[in-house]
Subunit: 312 residues, 2 copies
């Protein structure tokens, strides 16, 4: 799956993943109205609205991006109907040829970690049969509990040729409260560097051609830390959140990439899916919101490519 991700990034020329994080305030009124007319102002109605919204965006951008990253929280909040819309979105994106990164940030231990792994990336056994439950291609994980939480996922990924992105340095303002703490037992280096070393080590257990199936998450909002982590984890693909709405710019991203122009994939969520709400793309109008998303992808691609071409 990491090989497929790399080849799709090369084919599209777009090291971009679009975050399908459909908050209701992003969903154009005409879509909400239609869904509520059919299902009422219910969880089912909300789920239908976000599914129709996703579908139209995906139909307009699937050919110019390699991957999408649905954030499961945005679906889970609407209970069972919301999770059905998540599953529908995963299936539809895969059908359209997109790689699907489930943004789960799950993290637990032993048999519990294994349950998440088989449920989202592998097959769960029922009697003499087995089933793919959610069946994403990649999942994001939280490393706080250590190797016990990661190893069961790696095992399933090896069996299924799937991959992971593990939180190392997150894009949010308070990420430093714990992640930046300097470790006396590691030459005063910050915790995120040590987590990065673990990710690189875990990654050796499941290598693709050039990069590992075990990737990392490092926020665009911390470019200097990204530069250091790029060196610590040379064969690790870095998923970079924080571009756009959170403040990251193309120029901040160059150090997340290797010299080969690969090694990083940049996420944008509301910057793409709610582009029509920005002044820049307002002329599309809410009826043509998905065309605005396509234009925003193209602008983002150009911003990143210009930055990569101009790096010194």
């Amino acid at each position: 799956m990491i090989n497929k991700l790399v080849s799709k990034i090369k084919a599209t020329g777009a090291p971009i993943v679009v975050g399908l994080d459909p908050m209701m305030k992003f969903v154009p009124e005409h879509i909400q109205k239609k869904a509520f007319a059919e299902f009422g102002e219910t969880l089912e109605g909300a789920a239908e609205a976000i599914w129709q919204y996703n579908k139209e965006i995906v139909d307009n951008i699937y050919d110019i991006i390699p991957a999408v990253k649905p954030q499961i929280a945005m679906y889970e909040q609407f209970g069972i109907p919301g999770l059905m819309a998540f599953k529908k979105t995963v299936d539809y994106c895969k059908q359209k040829g997109l790689i699907v990164i489930g943004d789960l940030k799950r993290g637990d231990i032993g048999s519990t970690s294994e349950a998440y792994a088989v449920g989202h990336l592998g097959k769960v056994t029922v009697g003499s049969k087995s089933y793919y439950s959610f069946d994403e291609d990649f999942a994001t994980l939280n490393p706080y509990m250590g190797s016990d939480g990661i190893k069961p996922f790696i095992k399933v990924c090896q069996e299924e040729n799937k991959g992971l992105f593990i939180l190392v340095k997150t894009s949010n303002p308070s990420s430093g409260e714990f992640q930046d703490r300097k470790l006396a037992d590691a030459d005063n280096r910050p915790l995120y560097e040590i987590v990065g070393e673990y990710v690189a080590k875990w990654g050796e257990e499941h290598m693709g051609d050039t990069y590992s199936y075990v990737g990392a998450v490092v926020g665009a909002t911390y470019p200097e830390m990204g530069k250091v982590l790029r060196k610590i984890m040379p064969k690790t693909y870095i998923l970079v959140p924080g571009y756009g709405a959170q403040g990251g710019k193309g120029a901040d991203l160059v150090h997340f990439f290797n010299e080969d122009g690969l090694g990083a994939i940049v996420n944008s969520s509301r910057g793409i899916i709610a582009a029509y709400q920005q002044e820049k793309y307002a002329s599309f109008g809410s009826e043509h919101f998905a065309e605005a998303s396509r234009a925003a992808v193209e602008d983002m691609r150009k911003d990143i490519m210009d930055a990569l071409n101009n790096r010194s």
Copy 2:
């Protein structure tokens, strides 16, 4: 909700939470057979089996314990049908008067954290209406991303009188890889102590009568660390996993409690729900598995109470 938890612990004399983590290998064959006969060896069949298994256990123990802790991973692995069984279990336990701790270990930031919070503890808005989606009483959280991930949950908990248990020092063998690292910028104290200080500070924002609505998770397998953390977080309720199957014993638990005999609630999952598979309770037979669970709760209660009564 923390006041209710404390009063239920006093009423039952049992500082015990039963982990409803139904692995298929725990579910007695006669229950699996019946569920598969009705729904086939499908995700629906598995979901029906774990629901019937849970229900019979709950029916047999609800009057002698204050709370249950369903581990959502064990349901999520069976996809949508599994999550429907999770929701059914939450609702049924609440109907039986039990407090429900959703073992989610979710952790994200900003609007994403808020989505998990409203989905699991609060109400989600759909047009002019709002709905409780999963509606647990407490949720477990992962702190790796810092305050940005916790604050949205506290806000919802304040509105709904609900609570949290935040991972501080987890029970698993590799929990020390990151949690035990000594911080040069905090007098070489380990990370878990600093996380404990944050939990105590977050807890001040949402206090019950004696204890905070913001609790902590500290593993029974690390009793000495529990002793230190008890002092760092005097008003924090500690959820203690790792008793029984993971190796923790009653005597290890005493330092997790305050002098008032309160301040901790000890979890056991397979030790209770799969008690009938232990030699000690084998005489119940698999048909009477839920009575074996009741006996195991009573033995666990005695083990903890003896240890508390004998503490020096």
